[in-house]
Amino acid sequence: MFELNDMWTFFHKLGSPPYFYRISGMLIPWLGWICLGLLLAGLYGGLVLAPPDYQQGDSYRIIFIHVPSAWMSLFIYMVMAAAGAVGLIWRIKVAEAIAAASAPVGAWFTFLALVTGSLWGKPMWGTYWVWDARLTSELILLFLYLGVIGLYSAIEDRRTASRATAVLSLVGVVNIPIIHYSVEWWNTLHQGSTITKIGAPSIHLSMLLPLLIMALGFKLYYGMVLLMRSRVEVLERERGSAWVREVLQTQ
């Protein structure tokens, strides 16, 4: 019971801007170093240790950045929409900052998923791009992110901007299951899921392991960049308050 209480106080405290600023400053270097270690291990496992694919040869190695990027593009969108909803309902400033900081990172991962997929598609499908369900819905995701970024920067008052973008990102959530199930609902050129077949993934351990390590590295990378961006956002929003003055005077 005590542990549960501690957890709640922790989350409660995280909602306080000065506490968030301090904790995130301590977390960023840790996330960065662990992330770097994971990415280097994943790259070594994926590019050097893993054998070539029996059908796709070495071209499949793009999977180690393509799939984690695509996962992140969806995951970050959900974080952004959830943080936006929390900001909308409870007016928590830190949640608003997290939503605002997530949009550019998510847009970059969506860009990476599209570009690396395209570079994988050319040798395997014979084309960089097709207007099939998976690719089109992922492109729509990029436009949603760009819409959120554009709307946020178009409104001068940050709190109003946060409320408007939260509504837009919540509406865009309908796109997420469409992307996820697109390979099952429609006949597409894009291959089906390799990993989520629970129990029996259709991928060898020597390929699965680096993929999962990379995916974890990507998660930590997002965590680090998210904190870097959102703590500046918090600082900017709170610039009139006493704690920011204190922080800046010690600089």
Partner: protein, 56 residues
């Protein structure tokens, strides 16, 4: 495996290495840009606070 084989990637080197270079560039940009923004924001806010405290 030789180094040239590694870069050749079974004939897919151009695709694999362009994908990985673009990825690396994006990963670097996304750390450098917020770090730079943090520094410039802190500087700007500190300056405006100093101005306000000097001329009340």
């Amino acid at each position: 495996m030789s180094l040239s084989e590694f870069f050749h990637m079974g004939g897919y080197g151009a695709y694999v290495w362009s994908a990985y270079s673009i990825w690396l560039a994006v990963m670097i940009i996304n750390v450098v840009q917020p770090a730079y923004k943090a520094r410039s924001t802190i500087k700007r806010l500190a300056r405006s606070i100093n101005q306000r405290t000097r001329q009340p």
